[in-house]
């Protein structure tokens, strides 16, 4: 038996916030010093989610392609900046390379799903496109930042090995290939782990949300499978894209490793 979503009111939220208070009391008792951070994080969750809820309601109501594109652009820039900031090292031009990667990968995979699988009409329908690209960006930026972090670490700390290969006539690709593939592998780990345990250890968020909203579990599962495949493709392409962009920036056309362009935060 299924029923539609049960709407929540302020009282429901107040009761739920009691759970965070319990977590706070536990932290206080253990002296973890995390209470202020927990309070700020909880407040941010409320403010950010309410804000995004109102923005989405407004954008849905506008029914305007330019407004949806503006939302997309904002999301892509924030995701790119966040991905680069999570890495321990960076280089000049990393942010726009991350944004470009996320734009190509995010739009490519999201539009494939909305236009070819779910067959949304119009293709930019914000009710589908924005949540889907939000999921894609959230997952891809994790893979992308892990990939970027690993590659910059290798190009800094294993520079002597890479130069040893270059000194023996390796091309920049031959010298950098191991670091690039290792970084892509690192970037793929979260989504591979998520796919491996999906439905066994945890129910994925989107599927849970659909079931709570009254969807038949089997319909929710079909959506979730599509989403998992989309996220796997996005993570792989995102990690690969940023690794190749970074490799191209840090090895020049004279087949030299330019590790001096890397800076630690």
């Amino acid at each position: 038996m299924t029923q539609g979503a049960i709407p929540l009111d302020a009282l429901d939220l107040a009761i739920a916030s009691g759970l965070v208070v319990v977590a706070g009391i536990t932290s206080l008792a253990l002296g973890t010093g995390l209470v202020p951070r927990l309070a700020v994080a909880s407040l941010r969750t409320v403010v950010q989610l309410l804000l995004v809820g109102y923005v989405l309601e407004w954008v849905f109501g506008l029914d305007s392609a330019p407004a949806v594109m503006a939302c997309l652009a904002f999301m892509l820039v924030i995701a790119g900046r966040t991905a680069v900031r999570r890495a321990e090292r960076t280089f000049r031009g990393a942010t726009w390379r991350a944004v470009l990667t996320l734009t190509a990968v995010g739009l490519g995979t999201s539009l494939t799903v909305t236009a070819l699988v779910v067959r949304v009409d119009p293709w930019w329908n914000p009710q589908y496109l924005l949540p889907i690209i939000g999921m894609v960006l959230g997952n891809t930026l994790t893979g992308l930042s892990l990939s970027l972090d690993k590659l910059l670490e290798d190009l800094s700390e294993r520079a002597h090995l890479i130069e040893a290969d270059l000194a023996l006539g390796a091309t920049r690709w031959e010298a950098g290939r191991d670091a690039v593939t290792e970084s892509v592998r690192r970037g793929m780990i979260p989504i591979l782990n998520a796919m491996t345990v999906a439905g066994i250890v945890s129910l994925p968020g989107m599927m849970t949300g659909q079931i709570l909203a009254g969807q038949r579990p089997i319909d929710a599962v079909l959506y979730q499978i599509v989403v998992m495949f989309m996220l796997a493709a996005a993570s792989a392409l995102g990690a690969t894209g940023v690794a190749l962009f970074t490799w191209n920036r840090l090895f020049d056309s004279r087949h030299q490793l330019r590790s001096e362009r890397i800076r630690k935060r």
Binding site: H160, E163, L166, L168, G169, T171, E174, R254, H255, Q256
Partner: protein, 236 residues
């Protein structure tokens, strides 16, 4: 003068490695400037100079691993861009003072350069074993050992063998015997002396070694830029 001797008349004037008006910088500081250097085919040149003068940076520059701050390089009259940098580095091979090896056996480490696109021949395993023996290493024992587990002196010899297998025109050797005892140093010097067609540019701190292994010595001190810091009280 580093290169007062004219090139042999039997060779074209630009044969060998030439560096003209070279200036080197590292970490925003100029190390050397105004350096003209020519290494003719088969010539063995020792580079001397105080610590920090830029000897290693000079070798890295000649191997085109870093760019000079000023000046130009040619090999047989051709700049690195015309030959292609990987092809240049197959002909001008640098052996670092502290060699770097991937986590591979000695055999795999020696074979690695032959998997690169610039390789023109398969890995000559028999010659590799022969060269290892000539440097005093037991090929049967070290071939299957992880290169990183060897001592620094053993790694230096494996790195030298790896460079010789590539069959370059010019070897750039950075303190090649710094981790070796006197007997093994003599073996290595003898091996280098037995390959007369191979040009060599050898960085050493030891003037006696320079005299033994080189046909010419270049002192880098006259090209050194003054080190930064407060002026010495003895300075005029």
């Amino acid at each position: 003068m580093s290169d007062a001797r004219p090139s042999p008349p039997s060779r074209p004037p630009q044969s060998g490695l030439s560096a003209r008006g070279l200036a080197l910088a590292a970490g925003g500081r100029t190390l050397l400037s105004g350096l003209d250097l020519h290494v003719a085919p088969g010539e063995r040149v020792a580079l001397l100079g105080p610590s920090g003068v830029g000897k290693t940076t000079l070798l890295r520059t000649l191997a085109t691993l870093v760019d000079p701050a000023a000046g130009a390089l040619t090999l047989d009259g051709q700049p690195p861009g015309a030959l292609g940098h990987p092809a240049w580095r197959r002909r001008v091979v640098m052996v670092a003072q502290v060699p770097a090896f991937h986590d591979l056996t000695v055999a795999a480490a020696l074979a690695r350069p032959f998997a690169f696109r610039a390789a023109t021949a398969p890995f000559p395993e028999a010659r590799a074993r022969d060269l290892l023996a000539q440097t005093g290493l037991d090929p049967a024992a070290v071939f299957t050992q992880r290169a990183r587990t060897l001592s620094v002196g053993q790694q230096q010899r494996v790195a030298l063998v790896r460079a010789l297998l590539v069959a370059p025109d010019l070897l750039l050797l950075d303190e090649p015997t710094s981790g070796l005892d006197a007997a093994t140093t003599a073996r290595v010097e003898s091996l280098l002396a037995e390959t007369p067609a191979l040009s060599q540019l050898i960085v050493t701190h030891d003037p006696a070694q320079a005299a033994r292994v080189a046909t010419r010595v270049v002192d880098l001190a006259p090209y050194a830029s003054p080190a930064p810091g407060p002026p010495s009280p003895e300075a005029p």
